[in-house]
C-alpha cells in the first residue's frame, strides 16, 4: 500500500510538474510525424505522470481521480480506435489499415494517410497509458486486497 507522503516539497513539485508532463506526452503523441515519438512513447509518459501522482499523493487520494474500471475502458477504446480505423478503410473499399480512402474532407491522399497515422497513434497512446497505470495500480494495491474499482 502506498500511503500519502507528508512532505510539502514532494507534493508541491509533483503538483507543479504533472500538468507539464501530461502536456509533453500529448506533444510527443501529436508530433510523432515530425520527430521521434508516437503513440507508445507518449502513452508511457502519460502513464508515468499518473504513477507520479500515486507515489506522491497515495493510493486513496488517487483512486478518487482515476478508477480502474475507467482505465480498462480506455484500454479497450484505444485498441478499438486502432482496429476501427482499419475496418473503416475496409468499408470504404480499400485494404485493411490502408488509410488512403478514409472519409475526410481533405483533397490530398497523402495528407489523409497522415491523418490516419495520427488516429492510430492516438489509439495506441490511449491503450498504452491505460495499461501502464492499471498494471501499476493492480500491483500496488494487491497486498492490501484493494477493492475492484
Amino acid at each position: 500500500m502506498i500511503i500519502e507522503y507528508e512532505n510539502v516539497i514532494i507534493k508541491t513539485v509533483c503538483r507543479l510538474l504533472i500538468p507539464f508532463i501530461q502536456l509533453f506526452s500529448i506533444y510527443v503523441i501529436m508530433h510523432g510525424h515530425y520527430s521521434p515519438g508516437g503513440g507508445f512513447q507518449g502513452g508511457v509518459i502519460l502513464g508515468a505522470s499518473f504513477i507520479l501522482l500515486v507515489i506522491a499523493y497515495g493510493l486513496e487520494e488517487s483512486r478518487r481521480r482515476i478508477s480502474l474500471k475507467a482505465l480498462t475502458i480506455y484500454a479497450c477504446l484505444g485498441l478499438f480506435l486502432y482496429s476501427g480505423i482499419g475496418a473503416l478503410c475496409l468499408l470504404m473499399g480499400a485494404n485493411y489499415l490502408d488509410y488512403g480512402r478514409l472519409p475526410l474532407p481533405i483533397s490530398s491522399i497523402a495528407t489523409i494517410r497522415a491523418m490516419g497515422i495520427l488516429g492510430i497513434e492516438i489509439g495506441v497512446g490511449m491503450a498504452v497509458m491505460a495499461i501502464m497505470i492499471s498494471i501499476f495500480l493492480a500491483i500496488a494495491s494487491y497486498e492490501t486486497g484493494g477493492e475492484d474499482g
Partner: protein
C-alpha cells in the same frame, strides 16, 4: 532427463549459431532488404504519406499490421495482469 535437456539446448543453440553464418552482414548494402524495401520507403514516404519522420510512416502505415499486433500484445498483457492481480470479492 537433465542430460537430455542440456543436449537439446546445446543442439538448438548450435543450429541457430550455424544458421547465423548464412545471414547477410551487419548493415550490408547488398542484402535483399537494403536493395528493395528500404529505398522504396525512403523515396516514397513524403509523396505517399506526407510524414517527414520515416520511422513513424513505416511503423504506422507500411507496417500497420505489426503495430496493431504490438498494441494487442500490450493490451492482452495488461488484461492478464488485471485478471491475476485484482482480488475477487468473495
Amino acid at each position: 532427463m537433465k542430460t537430455f535437456a542440456l543436449l537439446a539446448v546445446l543442439l538448438t543453440g548450435g543450429l541457430l549459431i550455424y544458421g547465423v553464418e548464412d545471414m547477410p552482414g551487419w548493415g550490408d548494402p547488398n542484402s535483399p532488404p537494403s536493395l528493395h524495401v528500404s529505398p522504396r520507403y525512403i523515396e516514397k514516404t513524403m509523396e505517399e504519406t506526407d510524414t517527414p519522420d520515416m520511422v513513424t510512416s513505416v511503423l504506422a502505415d507500411y507496417r500497420g499490421y505489426d503495430t496493431l499486433g504490438e498494441t494487442t500484445v500490450i493490451f492482452t498483457a495488461g488484461i492478464a495482469c488485471l485478471l491475476l492481480l485484482r482480488r475477487n470479492r468473495q
